[in-house]
């Protein structure tokens, strides 16, 4: 912060007298000062700490100022009364860097004293310049110091660090003990607001990040300015509880960070020969070579050394942000106090009495309760679920418990179920950031420590690896409301992605390998997954999915860059590697986030568009080639063996017969255990021709039904579901070569019938079997549901579109319907298809909010639908769905 000279204050008058003839003339002082500076520099380069160096530089400046001032006073026959010199800003704090300016204030007792001192001050300033000190001075009378200059906040902030140098000590005492305390007390809100403004402007100017390839160690976030701003905030704001005071541990970290950055700044000044605080690439290498700021003196690579820099920068930045977040208590009127008291009574504490939301932040009410880690974890889960940040004070409370093992924490281990919740909510980054700051993330995932502050030293990667990882997750969560056009296409993918927990876990682990001594970082990341999966007890399917995402996390980007994505062969090959729509969606989101988090410009609109085009082409490939590739039992030996092992006693031939003819997608979306369960149902068809299984899932239910194919089967099943008030979210309908249909429906229990009455599940299954078997009618079930289903006004209007495609499949006509969702919709579509004698070979049903996207592979009498039938079907469906 610079101190502007007061307008009208002119130190440029010619001297009436000078120092010639003084006991220590300029000709002596000059070389003495130079020699002292040289000595200080040599000591610094020999290993003296920054703290000692700054102290020595400050003492050198003080001595020379006092000597010159004393000599000039004598020469000018002046008394000190009415004039004193103050050190301000960095000089006042005794933090004087080799090429920093000396911020000095000339304080006058009166205007008369100011007039009389002009000659002396001019000579003083020139002499100091001649001695090699860069002086930045201002002048004020005592009276002027009582006023707050609203356009000069920097001056008042610099005054906070005032220090007497020379002259009228009584005058200084008056200023320091009486005048300034009174005016500063009055000016607190102004100073605090100005400091906030100046700090926010500075942080914004530097991109709101501590991560710069060539940081400015003074001005960048995480630099020395952050430390100073935090100190000033503490000074300005009156806090009776002194909540802002650092703990001893925080003070130690802060002091270490200051020492480290101080050493860098001295080094930069000496290396550049001027007040240049930019830590360039070249100087990073030089600093690393001499292990600057590191006690052990062992040379490091520039990347390793910068890792230390970013750790210290993070410490100072966090401290500042904590102070800036806290609001200073503002004196309230009685009316305001009463109003606040009444309002406070209405604020419901979240989760009982342990934490609550205040000022849009999660605050801890009952800090000792945090000794039960289950409560701490539930706080993070709440943050991830709602997107409400945890306050810095709450973090401090958690941090205190974590760093005091004598407090006997309970329920320390975080289960996969708990972590899974956090990762699957809409705002996982809001929890993961504070978890990382507190060291909790590395406690749960020790593998993450390998990339802590790890620097990738090139001009493309802006952030350290851990920062990049957290940013990938934040870029996903911001798709809830995409900040710009680049995310527009991908927002629906994030909203509808299944198993987001596995996607986020993949992102957490995908670059761990960069912190391991391996040739290919993907290999290292997969090794990290092995240990993480074992510890968290992931299921084999979960681990396999994360394994795939990590192993192939660069594939989509590479395909976009190196292949022709409009070539069907490229799309086909890519689709083969990805295998399912669900995995494609996760991989696409991972790729979007990974590119976006490299640096702010990495995900150009061009790249985002290319990524989207590849996603669309591949997605369409999946839905249009379902019946192209059918299973042939003897070709699936490994699967047959696994299913046989799980099926207990079944012959290989039986299993082959079951699998023969299902679309390959069946294998892609079901695990071996699920296939074995389906086979078990298949084996019972002889005894009971309709086999069903209903399972509760996290937020829905699934129905699996096996039976022999028959007319209107799909319409019947979906009708029963509609009749029971279930809303179908997703469905697959497959048939094998023997005409056994395997339909899977995922549905929402809108009226909570099954959820609240588990016994109803059996009744539902019986009802379904009876209707499918023709033992019960469907119509009575549907009565009463129809009016209810149409009564609700949709939030978003979706236009109905029906497209036919005769070219994608060799055997069937593809029909894609996009329309407005409503309960009973699938029954309506199925009924229309049945009425027109269209056979459903394969069906893929999906929902995206209020939009339904259904793909049917249809035949009529074993052939594709003739054009007239397509048109008739279109007409009937348009009428039904209108």
């Amino acid at each position: 912060m610079t101190t502007a000279a007061r307008p009208g204050f002119d130190a440029g008058l010619p001297p009436a007298k000078n120092m010639q003839g003084s006991p220590t003339p300029l000709s002596v002082l000059g070389p003495q000062a130079d020699a002292a500076r040289q000595r200080i520099r040599q000591q610094f380069e020999a290993g003296t700490s920054a703290r000692e160096t700054l102290r020595a530089l400050c003492e050198l400046a003080d001595r020379n100022i006092q000597q010159v001032f004393g000599e000039l006073l004598r020469v000018h026959d002046g008394a000190t009364q009415g004039l004193c010199l103050l050190a301000l800003g960095g000089y006042g704090r005794r933090m004087l860097f080799p090429y920093s300016d000396l911020d000095i204030l000339f304080l006058f007792g009166s205007e008369k004293a100011e007039q009389e001192s002009r000659g002396l001050i001019a000579e003083f300033s020139r002499t100091l310049w001649d001695l090699g000190f860069r002086v930045s001075s201002a002048g004020r009378t005592l009276e002027e110091c009582k006023r707050i200059e609203e356009d000069n906040a920097e001056f008042h902030l610099a005054l906070l660090d005032r220090r007497f140098l020379a002259g009228d000590a009584a005058l200084f005492e008056k200023l320091d003990a009486k005048v300034l305390p009174a005016s500063e007390k009055q000016a607190r809100p102004f100073l605090r607001a100005q400091l906030h403004r100046l700090t926010k402007e500075r942080i914004t100017r530097y991109g709101n990040t501590i991560f710069h390839l060539e940081p400015n160690v003074k001005e960048s976030p995480g630099g020395m300015r952050d430390y100073q701003a935090a100190v000033w905030l503490r000074q300005i704001v009156e806090d009776k509880d002194d909540r802002r005071r650092n703990t001893a541990a925080e003070e130690e970290l802060s002091a270490a960070a200051l020492d480290f950055l101080g050493a860098i700044r001295c080094f930069l000044h000496y290396s550049n020969g001027r007040n240049d605080n930019t830590l360039t690439y070249e100087l990073q290498a030089a600093a690393a070579e001499r292990a600057l700021g590191v006690g052990d003196g062992a040379a490091r690579t520039p990347a390793e050394w910068m890792r230390l820099y970013f750790r210290h920068a993070r410490t100072l930045n966090r401290q500042l942000l904590r102070y800036m977040e806290q609001r200073a208590p503002v004196p309230l009127t009685l009316r305001q106090r009463l109003f606040n008291a009444a309002r406070a009574a209405k604020l419901e504490p979240e989760h009982g009495k342990h934490f609550m939301v205040r000022n849009c932040l999660l605050e801890v009410i009952d800090a000792p309760a945090l000794a039960d880690r289950a409560i701490t974890y539930s706080l993070f889960a709440e943050a991830a679920r709602t997107g409400t940040p945890i306050s810095r004070e709450a973090e401090r409370s958690i941090g205190y418990i974590l760093t005091h093992p004598e407090l006997s924490a309970r329920n320390k281990e975080m289960s996969w179920a708990t972590l899974r919740d956090i990762l699957s909510f809409d705002y996982p980054g809001v929890a993961l950031r504070p978890m990382q700051r507190l060291g909790l993330l590395t406690e749960i995932l020790p593998e993450f420590a390998k990339i802590d502050s790890l620097v990738v030293r090139d001009f493309y990667h802006r952030y350290t690896v851990d920062e990049h990882t957290l940013r990938t997750i934040e870029h996903l969560q911001e798709l809830a409301v995409p900040p710009d056009a680049r995310g527009a296409h991908f927002a629906p993918l994030w909203k509808t992605a299944e198993r987001r927990d596995l996607l986020v876990l993949s992102l957490l682990l995908h670059d761990i390998g960069k912190g391991m001594p391996v040739e290919n970082h993907v290999t290292g990341s997969l090794t990290a997954l092995d240990s993480a999966a074992r510890r968290l007890k992931l299921s084999s399917e979960e681990k396999a999915e994360v394994h795939f995402l990590i192993e192939h996390h660069l594939d989509m980007s590479a395909t976009v860059q190196r292949r022709d994505i409009f070539d069907p062969a490229t799309v086909s090959a890519f689709a083969e590697s990805v295998t399912t729509q669900e995995r494609l969606q996760r991989l696409c989101l991972l790729t979007y986030a990974d590119i976006h988090a490299v640096n702010p410009e990495a995900l150009t609109p061009w790249k985002a568009e290319m990524l989207w085009q590849l996603f669309v082409a591949t997605s369409n490939h999946f839905s249009r080639t379902l019946d192209r590739d059918r299973l042939h039992g003897p070709d699936e030996l490994p699967l047959l063996e696994r299913v046989k092992a799980l099926a207990g006693g079944a012959s290989t031939e039986e299993i082959e017969r079951f699998l023969e003819g299902f679309p390959r997608r069946y294998l892609a979306v079901h695990s071996a255990a699920e296939i074995a369960a389906h086979f078990a149902l298949y084996q019972k068809l002889g005894a009971e021709p309709v086999q069903t299984e209903v399972l509760a899932e996290r937020h829905s239910f699934s129905l699996t039904l096996l039976t022999a194919d028959r007319p209107a089967l799909f319409a019947t099943i979906s009708g029963v579901l509609a009749g029971w008030g279930m809303n179908i979210i997703k469905a697959d309908a497959f048939a094998n070569a023997a005409g056994v249909v395997l339909d899977t429906f995922h549905f929402a229990d809108l009226h909570r019938t099954l959820e609240l009455n588990p016994g109803e599940i059996e009744r539902f299954r019986k009802s379904l079997a009876n209707v499918v078997n023709g033992k019960a009618a469907l119509e009575p079930l549907l009565k009463g549901r129809e009016s209810a289903s149409r009564a609700r006004t949709p939030k978003v209007a979706v236009e109905t579109r029906i497209n036919f495609d005769d070219s994608s499949s060799a055997h069937s006509t593809l029909m894609e319907i996009v329309t407005q969702d409503h309960p009973g919709l699938l029954h309506e579509i199925g009924s229309a298809l049945a009425r027109l004698e269209c056979n459903i070979e394969v069906a893929l049903i999906d929902t995206e909010g209020q939009k339904v996207i259904d793909v049917f592979y249809l035949t009529a009498q074993g052939n594709k639908l003739p054009p007239q039938k397509q048109e008739l079907l279109r007409e009937v469906l348009q009428g039904t769905l209108a």
Partner: protein, 112 residues
């Protein structure tokens, strides 16, 4: 001196860059662009919505070359960027009056 601008398929960019490096061409300016010539656009229908790409993604390479190198660079690009399909792109050449290195005021071919 000649300025060379080449519009190529994105999928050929890495090969072209590597091939140019092999013949000693390191300096170039690369831009992600969109456009079309005779190559038609592309329309996909996804979930009931049409996504038309009528300005297709391409990569533009620009470099200024000494006269003696132009022919070799053109041949290299032609060889590595070609797929034989419509949409492979084009190369444009134009004469350059002067080139100046900002750092040290070097001029002419010495500045390249």
């Amino acid at each position: 001196m000649m300025k060379l601008e080449a519009i190529i398929q994105p999928s050929r960019f890495e090969s072209v860059k590597d091939a140019l490096r092999e013949i000693g061409i390191e300096g170039m300016t690369v831009t992600e662009v969109r456009g079309h010539g005779r190559q038609k656009g592309h329309t996909e229908v996804y979930r009931g919505r049409e996504y038309t790409v009528d300005l297709l993604p391409k990569m533009k390479l620009e470099m200024v070359l000494p006269d003696a190198l132009v022919s070799r660079v053109v041949d290299t690009i032609l060889k590595t960027a070609k797929t034989g399909k419509i949409g492979d792109g084009k190369i444009f050449l134009s004469r350059v009056e002067e080139a100046i290195r900002i750092r040290n005021d070097e001029r002419g071919e010495n500045a390249l």
